[in-house]
């Protein structure tokens, strides 16, 4: 009787840690998919920059041309970054597929289905009148024990895959870090060129009366109205630049937190609060724009 009790106690203890691993694995898979999607969104923003740059440079050419009446229609050729973006987008699409599969592995239904299946098996067995009925102890405990065993197998698999996901997310993070400064320089050049060039446009090109129609600010003289309009324009351009840079930055931080969460789950005795804190941080980073 004693070995039986010890076995049940062992299964019970394993079950507590198993259900924790299954639950945390599930939450991490959701965040992993969200981080992958965020990366795809950031690459989409980056792929739009070529068209934005072309449009901004064309505008500058018109606004700074000394004789717009005689100039040809500008058609700036924007540098195409699709060869650089394509392998990166592909890599994050694959990561997304990994987390979709990991979400299925962390589904809590497996253990419940085992319990139901064993109950059904017992019912079928007991329905055969020629066969002796199962003892009551077995009848009441077997589905639960089977559930614990499946949970334990599932948790073991989650832990093993989590170690691979830890290595994988680390690789994604280090490549992201290697690229970040280049993307920042790309964004800086696009928006700084536009803002700097726009600053030199002759004030005579602006119609203070038209600007005044659209704004409610209490300025009377034309020079102030035009200057305030130009300030607002410059601020908007800088805001666009900083928002894009922030998205790059936040994605890097979210990847870092995801790696931390995987590292913690991979430990023999994971610290629940560290994992939850990383997952909460990812949520914050992804919701802010």
């Amino acid at each position: 009787m004693k070995p039986k009790l010890a076995f049940l106690l062992f299964l019970l203890l394993t079950s507590c840690s198993s259900s924790k691993i299954i639950e945390l694995g599930g939450k991490t898979s959701v965040k992993g998919a969200e981080v992958s999607q965020k990366a795809l969104d950031v690459y989409s923003v980056l792929s739009n920059q070529a068209a934005i740059d072309k449009s901004q440079q064309d505008k500058l050419k018109v606004l700074t041309n000394p004789s717009p009446a005689t100039m040809p229609l500008p058609n700036t050729k924007a540098k195409d970054f699709s060869n650089q973006l394509s392998p990166r987008i592909q890599a994050y699409k694959s990561l997304m597929a990994v987390y979709a599969a990991f979400a299925l592995l962390t589904d809590s239904k497996y253990a419940d289905k085992t319990e139901q299946a064993v109950s059904a098996l017992q019912d079928s067995y007991n329905a055969i009148s020629k066969l002796p009925d199962l003892p009551d102890v077995v009848k009441s405990k077997l589905p639960g024990v089977a559930k614990l065993i499946t949970g334990s197998i599932q948790a073991k698999k989650i832990r093993a895959h989590n170690e691979i996901l830890y290595a994988l997310s680390q690789a994604y993070l280090s490549l992201w870090k290697a690229d970040t400064s280049t993307w920042e320089e790309y964004i800086d050049l696009i928006y700084n060129s536009y803002a700097d060039g726009l600053n030199t446009v002759d004030s005579k090109r602006y119609d203070a009366a038209k600007i005044a129609q659209d704004i409610k600010e209490p300025y009377k003289d034309e020079a102030t109205i035009i200057l305030m309009y130009r300030l607002r324009n410059r601020d908007e351009i800088m805001k666009q630049k900083n928002d894009t840079r922030k998205q790059l930055n936040d994605l890097g931080k979210a990847l870092e937190e995801l790696t931390l969460a995987h590292a913690e789950i991979a430990k023999e005795k994971p610290d629940l609060s560290t994992i939850i804190s990383s997952l909460n941080r990812i949520e914050e980073l992804l919701k802010t724009k």
């Binding site: 000394p66 597929a97 994988l168």
Partner: protein
């Protein structure tokens, strides 16, 4: 070397933009619209060269992203195998139930 060139290009682009209207005005006065276009083309060449350097920096990591894609695909396949193994546990129990049901029916038919 590449970093130095990038810095020089960035400084030249910023300098041009900070005096863009004046420089184009001077070009227009000396050579008309053609001179303006030529100056703008030179500026575009500077920007192109800068972007080219950025592209080369990114290209250095392209093959690593391809490796990463392959690793991710392998892991997705392995995860699918693990999911199948988990499903197999329940499938085997369900199969055992079907077998017992069948045995029960046979016993009834045979009147044993």
């Amino acid at each position: 070397m590449q970093q130095e060139l990038k810095k020089s290009l960035s400084a030249a682009i910023a300098q041009f933009n900070s005096k863009r209207s004046q420089l184009l005005q001077a070009a227009f006065q000396s050579g008309g619209q053609d001179a303006v276009e030529k100056l703008e083309q030179e500026y575009d060449v500077l920007r192109d060269a800068y972007f080219e350097i950025l592209q080369r920096e990114l290209d250095e990591n392209n093959h690593l992203y391809k490796q990463l894609t392959d690793q991710a695909k392998t892991e997705a396949d392995n995860l699918t195998k693990s999911i199948k193994q988990l499903n197999n546990i329940n499938d085997i129990i369900n199969l055992a139930t079907s077998v017992i049901n069948l045995v029960g029916r046979i016993l009834i038919v045979l009147g044993v």
